[in-house]
Symmetry: C2
Subunit: 232 residues, 2 copies
DNA sequence: CCGTACAGATTGTTCAACAATCCTGCAATA
DNA sequence: TATTGCAGGATTGTTGAACAATCTGTACGG
């Protein structure tokens, strides 16, 4: 089947051809603003203002709001409008409990199956580690944070599950909501570079139990640091 | 705090007082039809027909469609409409992998924390077990299936995490999509009654490792049975 | 100080219309 | 025969306006 590679490479592009709704693009634009911290938690998103600014109708904008509400980036209060979500301490704890479940399971799963398919995944993991160290060396702390996100995304990808990938992407986007209300990004992201490298090395050595333990330790300290730094 | 029960019982009703959007109610109605099997996978949902049948405008209906699309009960194809989702073999495998992650993690978590707060959760678990056995005795196989769902919902609730509860609810709703294209509900649900009781007993004895192992075994057999019974 | 009533602003929902796209059937061509 | 091209009809995508329902804030009266 020589043609199979043809068709596969084509179907990979299928997403980008036409298939884009206005509401989807509006959601992308708003999501970027939220993730980047331009729209801080608690901000109210006026239908009229944003609709006029983006040049879309209220109905279309409301569809975009629904999208982001289900990603838990916005909250919708009946008859009052939509707001950028504000996470409280319980939300943080719940988020990290969920992260523990997902990421630790992914690491454990990677250890339970043969390493035949895991080679490319570990490549992504190592790339995220080196990208973080490079960003740290050049003092770009925002990039360190992004690399840290990619590291954990790659960690979840060890599960080889589209659903896990999706869940993890949403989780990390939510986490950005907290990072932006935190004081200094450097003190939060930099200490974990070493831990990331260690986890990556352990996985490359096939020591998945030790990697999972190191990951669990990371969650404990990161959650504690996050809770300690919260204004509430 | 005598008044606490007052307030709790009130806040439980808060959802139903006013705070209900038309789109939300429409989504509830459609979700019920999908979960109950009246709308089978692959069915196309016409905006005009359903809008007229329910007496809501197209815009409101589209909001409801978005809700259910994000719950993965419907799929939205650009310029073609929404369809009841059809799961293929890969979807089943992905779904069960995710279930393994979530539910096994919940059981393990319940074993790692003190049993102080887990008492009410185990009550729900046992209630689901007895409800299933009662339904089986009376030959109500649909009720057996529902009780089985409640069992796994209660299992996930051991995590004590609203987010896990939410995720589990969505997962189980998706699973119904597969059950309804399966042949006989009895042959699929009945064999697991005994396993459920065993898992429940093991948890009551504090033997969480054994319970997790039994749960993992359940996932293996259930997934295999589901894949074997698929028309593809 | 507290409760009420009014006015303004915003959201919830509907409706009608048009543009863009898809599906179907049929004819034309190699 | 199989494939391509082209109307025609049907459905979705998006818009704009309109009205009802609800919230917020403020001034008034007790």
């Amino acid at each position: 089947m020589v043609t199979a590679t043809w068709l596969d490479s084509l179907s990979a592009e299928r997403e980008r051809i036409g298939r884009s709704s206005t509401a989807g693009r509006v959601a992308d634009a708003l999501r970027a603003r939220v993730i980047e911290g331009q729209l801080l938690p608690g901000t109210r998103l006026s239908e009229e203002d944003i609709g006029e600014a983006l040049g879309v109708s209220r109905n279309t904008l409301r569809e975009a709001f629904r999208l982001l509400t289900h990603e838990r980036l916005l909250v919708h209060v009946f008859n009052r409008g939509v707001f950028v979500r504000t996470l409280d301490r319980d939300d943080i704890r719940d988020l990290y409990r969920f992260r523990r479940f997902i990421e630790c399971s992914a690491v454990r799963y990677a250890g339970s199956v043969g390493s035949g398919t895991s080679a490319p995944s570990l490549t992504h993991l190592r790339e995220a580690v080196t990208a973080g160290e490079r960003a740290s060396a050049s003092g770009d702390w925002a990039a360190v944070g992004t690399a840290n996100m990619h590291f954990h995304q790659a960690l979840a990808a060890l599960a080889g599950s589209p659903r896990v990938d999706d869940t993890m992407r949403h989780l990390l986007a939510e986490l950005r909501l907290v990072f932006h209300v935190m004081a200094d990004p450097r003190t939060f992201h930099e200490p974990y570079l070493e831990g990331n490298r260690e986890i990556c090395s352990l996985l490359e050595q096939g020591r998945h139990d030790a990697a999972e333990a190191a990951l669990a330790a990371y969650f404990d300290t990161a959650e504690a640091q996050l809770l300690a730094g919260m204004p509430d």
